[in-house]
Amino acid sequence: ISGSSSVASMKKVVQQLQLEAGLNSVKVSQAAADLKQFSLQNAQHDPLLTGVSSSTNPFRPQKVCSFL
């Protein structure tokens, strides 16, 4: 009977929702402040953000010495 499998899958849906309802979430203001802090604290160690110079970035063109 299709009925019993609907009941079974509906039970799973309810269980999943109960799980999610049990989460202790934080306010967006708090979560956002933490994301902001993390990015700002790590900014100086972010080569693509700070634009690392040629001498330390292996992909940027090296300054070439020419022999005269």
Partner: protein
């Protein structure tokens, strides 16, 4: 029999109303916590200056669309896979090809580098994920040492080694994700819950524990507990397929890229979407996303051939990169954050810095 059916109908009805109640409660709670937007919190953060990012290397050699790529932990080697059935390992500094293997199928949609740098995993229309040890012995045929690890009932869309060479996580068009033991090929855990093809996955940074996030054609992003197989959080705000998911470096959030032309940021502790990265002028799907090392920048590759660079905190676009001559299908930032690599349907990969 009639009374049985009646009883079942009552149970189904009461379960449905319980589900509706719970959903309503969840929405109420989420709304209460939604006291501010991320970009408002970031209002006083200094705006980013002009970015000069150019293609520094172009990797040519694939005979058809590049579908996936991954960096080696050594920050210079790259593995890429293509519709032409080939998987190539490149030295991105020199652009030399170090290894190449031809898969028995076309559309190799997924590939990954092992943490040790000694093996790669790949798969696609063959419904499998196979591991190839990398050998430098010219006499050895790479394909001979192939090990079939994962078996799905539909195409493999994504794969990733966990913290070691010993376990692989896979995502499939069959709607499931799975965790496998590489040595024995044994299925360790399976993850059911997506209502359609799973297209992408990303493992949480090791400090945050045993979870991963997946995205699919059901427009859902789901966070899973690797040990129990349980879905711990689910997010459904995208309006179309989610092609790519990537954790924010702190592990507290993740970004997604979708066919609805937007990228979004979901915070796990606030349990909700906290930012949308979109513009009216961007109408093509985002296929792949990745963060810079600090999480301040989000790089996203699109089906309109461009790469947009977003200020994650302020929600604005800081740069648009041109160069590819067809869809950008895959994008990853290098392990030390000095560059990022993009792969495209134009058969090439580009390294940008």
């Amino acid at each position: 029999m009639a009374t049985e059916a009646l009883h079942e109908n009552e149970t189904l009805a009461s379960l449905k109303s319980e589900a509706e109640n719970l959903k309503g409660k969840l929405e109420e709670e989420r709304a209460k916590l939604h006291d501010v937007e991320l970009h408002q919190v970031a209002e006083r953060v200094e705006a980013l200056g002009q970015f000069v990012m150019k293609t520094r290397r172009t990797l040519k050699g694939h005979g058809n669309k590049v579908l996936c790529m991954d960096w080696c932990k050594d920050k210079r080697r790259i593995v890429s896979s293509s519709q032409d059935g080939k998987v190539i390992v490149w030295d991105s500094f020199t652009t030399n090809k170090e290894h190449a293997v031809t898969m028995p199928c076309t559309w190799v949609m997924a590939c990954a580098y092992a943490p040790s740098g000694c093996a790669i995993a790949c798969g696609g229309l063959d419904n499998k994920c196979s591991v190839y040890p990398l050998t430098f012995d010219k006499n050895e045929n790479m394909a001979a040492k192939k090990k079939s690890v994962a078996m799905h009932t539909n195409y493999l869309s994504a794969c990733s080694f966990t913290n070691s060479d010993m376990q692989i996580l896979t995502a499939s068009g069959d709607g499931t994700c799975a965790l496998w033991d590489v040595e024995s090929g044994q299925l360790l855990q399976s993850f059911h819950g997506h209502g359609a093809d799973v297209l992408c996955l990303d493992l949480a940074p090791s400090e945050t524990g045993n979870t991963f996030v997946s995205g699919g054609c059901d427009k859902k992003a789901m966070v899973w507990d690797m040990r129990s197989g349980q879905c711990v959080q689910a997010f459904e705000t995208h309006e179309s397929d989610i092609n790519s998911v990537r954790y924010y470096p702190s592990g507290d959030a993740f970004a997604s890229g979708s066919d609805d032309a937007t990228c979004r940021l979901y915070d796990l502790r606030a349990d909700r979407e906290v930012a949308i990265y979109s513009k009216e002028s961007i109408i093509f799907g985002a296929s792949s996303v990745d963060f810079s090392l600090s999480g301040r920048l989000l790089f996203a590759g699109y089906n309109d051939y461009t790469i947009n660079v977003w200020d994650v905190l302020k929600g604005s676009r800081v740069s648009i990169l041109f160069g590819h001559e067809n869809r950008v299908s895959t994008l990853r930032v290098s392990p030390d954050g000095t560059a990022f690599c993009s792969g495209s349907w134009d058969h090439t990969l580009r390294v940008w810095a």
